[in-house]
Amino acid sequence: YISSTKPLKIRFINGLSLPRVQCPNHPDTILVEDYRAGDMICPECGLVVGDRVIDVGSEWRTFSNEKALKDPSRVGDAQNPLLNGGDLTTMISKGTGAASFDEFGNSKYQNRRTMSSSDRAMLNAFKEISTMADRINLPRNIIDRTNNLFKQVYEQKSLKGRANDAIASACLYIACRQEGVPRTFKEICAVSRISKKEIGRCFKLILKALETSVDLITTGDFMSRFCSNLGLPKQVQMAATFIARKAVELDLVPGRSPISVAAAAIYMASQASAEKKTQKEIGDIAGVADVTIRQSYRLIYPRAAELFPPDFKFDTPVDKLPQL
């Protein structure tokens, strides 16, 4: 490439006052960064537009199996300034040498100064959210969304009297819903110390406070999770999804929670295939009582033949399905 450098052309775009590095001949192309030489190069003409770009990667390699006594990295963690309000304080940790203790044996520098007392509760909540989400293996985007929701609710202060854990659990529930992968209240209950009632109350309050609403849950949202937890093959899962959807369309189960309908559909599909699961097993996974599954099953049983997908391979034919 051509290695002649031109002075940096910094342009101010209307409205934005951020300087932007651009190639003078091709202002619209995205520059390629050559990290080894520290250059920004225009891919169209090969002009080196910016040089001596500071490499923001880590200074030296650190391995996880080395003793973590001395961490040579001179920068802290990647902070999340958007959520924490831009905290740039420095903390002094406990000293190690003899000079850090005064005559009585107490450490000279008393404790780490309280970092951000106003956001301490928020940081605690973020930690709690992260723990809860980790227990059910939620991805990073849901955790970020939950943190954002919590921050909004916390700043509004309309739910100030409620336990932070309750608000955090409810935010987690809303975030899962908003991302299109809803978790049942019982699943959130299982990873939180708050009761389902309280989470439900906070959920309604948060929706009112943030003036949002969430989509309704459908039976299909839970099928893949429940079926894979039960170890059912893909055919059975697809059959169960079809059964549940058909049952709701034909309105065989008015007023039943979609989760109960899903559980009954899984039961029917599994009983018709080679992998038969008992109501108790399904009830444990789905968080529904087995009487509830029985109730919903009784409602869909009469029209079982229509509910199965047309290309389903029956291990047990429809008329031999258990009648409860």
Binding site: F185, G200, I217, D251, S257
Partner: protein
């Protein structure tokens, strides 16, 4: 009516049909419940608090409510307290109504998005809050609805308002078994 702990204990030990809401503990104050008979066929449940107020439940019209409150005052007068009947107010009216058709809650919620809310996991009914008349309507899929509001007029208006919305989302007869 003046309230003090010993007064309530006196009520409890009088011949009338009083009983405490929870375990009677002399240190803490627990309100007492009285079963007041109004007329031959109607009766009301009353909760008497330590402070000056008491609540009456399960009455069928606003006039009955006033009558029941007066009866309660009379009962307390007979026990020897200085009672004055004041500040009577109807606080909440609950009405139950049944539509001749079933309702598809999912459609109903989708059509009335921010005002209606339906959480099948929490409660089997869809809740519809009408802000300007301060009434709440709970819609069940069988077609029965529950309306609560501050007075009877509001409740009647709420039913009139919600009927067209329910009619749109009714279940056609063919689907019902």
């Amino acid at each position: 009516m003046t309230g003090c702990r010993s007064a309530l204990v006196l009520c409890y030990t009088s011949g009338y049909h009083f009983w405490p809401i929870s375990e009677p503990q002399t240190n803490t104050g627990t309100p007492l419940v009285l079963y007041v008979s109004l007329l031959q066929c109607k009766s009301s449940t009353v909760v008497v608090f330590f402070s000056d107020c008491s609540l009456l439940f399960s009455l069928f019209s606003e006039d009955d409510a006033k009558l029941g409150a007066r009866r309660l005052a009379r009962v307390l007068q007979k026990l020897g307290f200085k009672v004055r009947f004041s500040a009577f107010k109807v606080v909440n009216v609950l009405a139950v109504c049944s539509m001749p058709f079933g309702i598809q809650l999912v459609d109903f919620t989708i059509k009335n998005r921010p005002i209606a809310s339906y959480e099948p996991e929490l409660h089997p009914a869809a809740t519809y809050r009408i802000k300007h008349i301060k009434a709440t309507v709970q819609v069940f899929s069988t077609g029965s609805i529950t309306v609560t509001g501050p007075n009877v007029q509001n409740v009647a208006t709420a039913v009139e308002q919600i009927y067209p919305l329910l009619f749109e989302c009714r279940k056609p007869k063919a689907l019902c078994k």
